[in-house]
């Protein structure tokens, strides 16, 4: 089936018209590729990448390729169609005592998308990216050729596809190693940091915790610059494996974007920061609010109004450290543009995937509504990030320049060589890949 419709990423900017194919079976995916014509195509799952990574004039929507194909309850190895969501996997496997080895801040993403973005989570400093737990994938490179890629077969293509933003073919299925857990609950500890220095120190002293992340107030200035709440967690061992907690609120309409301004956000951030009055609070929470606090408010992207928003996520190497982070935070605080719930995290080592985002250092993610003056600010931030040897997360990006990309992702040429070898360059292409000079 195919439809012409308006599509956009999670940031709701930009909005484009696309020919959307909706295959229900693998042979349908092949047919969709066969009929794609010359213009290039990209796959799409739940449209949770923020910018233009899943936008093209011809789109293959994979959400219905969502069946569980094999599972071993002894080993926790699961094979499933690439369109299955993390939410679905959790619902099936948590009651059986298995959890996702790595999960981002939303469970409403497909596994194919998780591979293509090589997503990271609150355990990156210990467990690395999602693809570390992917044993193999089935990758369609053309309608007559589906390759099984792993670290031992077609390993070049495997490392290009993990984090490769869908530009190397269509991931049909994923063979994933789940992680054993004995509870659906997390023992959480919340720690208060009065400024960025204290926050980074807290990360340091808690680096043994399985999960850690900080919410940071990007509008605080002077001695409070970078004040944060650090949340760390461990899987509980209470043997209660209750599935998901139900019923979320939703945002039925676009909020007028003028309601989001530096005063309302400052008020929210101050209230949020001061909800914890002690230096340290311990509690036990279900995995849903711990990992997916924002999934509780469906369509929260409408908070940023009808013009949409973008999330700016960068990483700078550890060596750049406090000094670098302070300088960037000052620039953001001075601009007065900022967001609720900016997220700060310490990453572990980078992996061998060619376009994977994380590298050992500090990452900060913050939302900005699309407005005049935003992109120049982000360009200034790009320059600072690049100076420190950092980079921007492709899954969130909607505006970085070709030079910025090519300077900060040093393996991009190798990525292109592999795409040419397998004949997928230009066949799989997105608005983003064109903007970044990977396709024409």
């Amino acid at each position: 089936m195919s439809f012409s419709k308006s599509i956009y990423g999670w940031g709701r900017y930009p909005v484009i018209k696309a020919d959307v194919q909706v295959p229900l079976v693998q042979s349908g995916v092949k047919a969709a590729v066969q009929n794609s014509g010359q213009g290039g195509m990209i796959t799409r799952g739940f449209g949770r990448s923020y910018g233009d990574s899943s936008l093209a004039d011809y789109v293959v929507e994979m959400r219905h390729i969502n069946h569980l194909l094999a599972f071993s309850s002894k080993t926790g190895r699961v094979v499933c169609g690439a369109g299955i969501s993390m939410a679905d996997l959790l619902e099936v496997f948590v009651p059986m005592g298995w959890f996702l080895p790595v999960t981002p801040g939303t469970k409403h993403i497909t596994l194919g998308g998780a591979v293509a973005s090589d997503v990271h989570g609150k355990n990156h400093h210990i467990s690395g990216c999602f693809c570390e737990y992917v044993e193999s994938i089935e990758l369609l490179v053309n309608p007559d050729c589906v390759l099984v890629c792993s670290r031992s077969t077609h390993s070049d293509l495997f490392h290009a596809t993990c984090g490769g933003m869908g530009l190397t073919g269509i991931i049909l299925s994923v063979n994933l190693q789940l992680k054993p857990v004995s509870s659906a609950f997390i023992n959480q500890k919340t720690l208060k940091a009065q400024n960025i220095n204290e926050a980074l120190e807290l990360f340091e002293t808690n680096q043994g915790s399985t999960y850690s992340v900080a919410w940071i107030d990007c509008l605080a200035t002077a001695s409070s610059l970078g004040r944060s709440l650090l949340m760390v967690g461990e899987h509980s061992s209470d043997n209660i494996l209750v599935g998901s907690s139900k019923h979320s609120l939703s945002m039925p309409v676009d909020m007028p974007s003028s309601l989001l301004n530096r005063f309302s956000i400052q008020l929210f951030n101050t209230l949020y920061y001061n909800r914890i009055t002690k230096k340290e609070v311990k509690n036990r929470v279900h995995y849903e609010p711990f990992f997916y606090p924002l999934d509780g408010l469906q369509d929260w992207n409408r908070l940023y109004g009808k013009n949409g928003f973008t999330q700016y996520q960068f990483v700078i190497p550890k060596e750049a450290g406090q000094v670098g982070m302070t300088k960037i935070l000052k620039e953001i605080a001075a601009s007065g543009k900022g967001s609720f719930l900016a997220v700060l995290k310490v990453f572990g080592k980078q992996n061998d995937n060619l376009l994977s985002f994380p590298l050992a250092g500090y990452t900060l993610a913050l939302d900005f509504k699309i407005e005049k003056g935003l992109f120049p600010l982000l360009d200034r931030l790009d320059a600072m990030v690049l100076d420190y040897g950092g980079r921007i997360y492709l899954t969130k990006d909607v505006r970085m320049s070709e030079q910025t990309f090519k300077q900060s992702y040093p393996h991009w040429q190798q990525f292109q060589t592999i795409r040419e070898q397998y004949g997928v360059k230009g066949v799989f292409a997105s608005y983003q890949s064109r903007r970044l000079g990977l396709d024409t």
Partner: protein
């Protein structure tokens, strides 16, 4: 452990409903047209906990095959605790207006085949003296609207047929559930432009169906608010209704 027959098993609502029962270790017999999807659905349901999953190909328009396929399902399952009739197409209303043959084909798929299947199933269930016949009709059958009245006609026929069946089967202890979903996000409705706040996910519909079968409800509007929307729509006077762009 429940024994469940699903016709149109690869429809999004049917798959989601099957998942609810798979968790409980049900036994399935699935009928649908798409063999590739049936095969992967079978492995999916087994991993989710189904005790057994058998399936067979059936195009509901091939009425000559109905008897044989239903007998095979009954032989495989033994008694049938639940039969979910979920097949359907959302035809192109414009094409139905152009060509009566297209309109009649829509009725064949969405009404006549359903009535034929239910006639056979009713006799099987009457002999068993237990079980649930759960039939997916639609709110579209409650009142004809310009935008999809051929589909609505088919669903109205299914609803009326099932109301009669309800009264007949009541005497033998068989439950007949008429399911009237509103707008649901499925591959069938993918191309429609629907007001987002009214559109439900198949998993939500499935949970409602699961509960309605447990509680032996007669008519299920799902999600619940469609009951009130349809009360409103039914009571708009025709003089106004025909002018409304619905």
């Amino acid at each position: 452990m429940k024994k469940i027959l699903i016709i149109g098993a690869t429809s999004a609502i049917a798959e989601a409903t099957a998942r609810c029962y798979a968790k409980e270790g049900a036994m399935f017999y699935l009928l649908a047209r798409n063999e590739e999807r049936l095969a992967s659905l079978a492995s999916d349901l087994k991993i989710r906990g189904a005790l057994s999953v058998d399936y067979s190909l059936l195009d509901v328009k091939e009425r000559a095959n109905h008897e044989q396929e239903l007998l095979r399902a009954k032989d495989t399952l033994g008694n049938i605790d639940i039969a979910l009739v979920a097949h359907g197409t959302l035809g192109n209303q414009g094409a139905c207006e152009e060509d009566p043959e297209v309109a009649l084909l829509e009725l064949e798929t969405n009404a006549f085949s359903t009535i034929a299947l239910l006639t056979r199933l009713a006799n099987i269930f009457e002999k068993q003296s237990h079980g649930t016949l759960a039939v997916i009709s639609s709110v579209a059958g409650d009142r004809g609207r310009a935008s999809n009245y051929v589909y609505g006609t088919a669903k109205a026929a299914v609803t009326t047929f099932c109301e009669g069946l309800q009264a007949r089967m009541f005497k033998s202890g068989v439950h007949v559930l008429i399911i009237k979903p509103g707008l649901v996000a499925t591959p069938m409705t993918e191309g429609l432009s629907m007001p987002a706040f009214l559109v439900a996910e198949p998993a939500l519909i499935a949970a409602d169906i699961f509960r309605a079968i447990e509680k032996k409800i007669d008519v299920l509007y799902t999600p619940w608010f469609w009951k009130y929307i349809m009360i409103g729509i039914i009571h708009i006077p025709a003089t106004l209704f025909k002018k409304a762009n619905l």
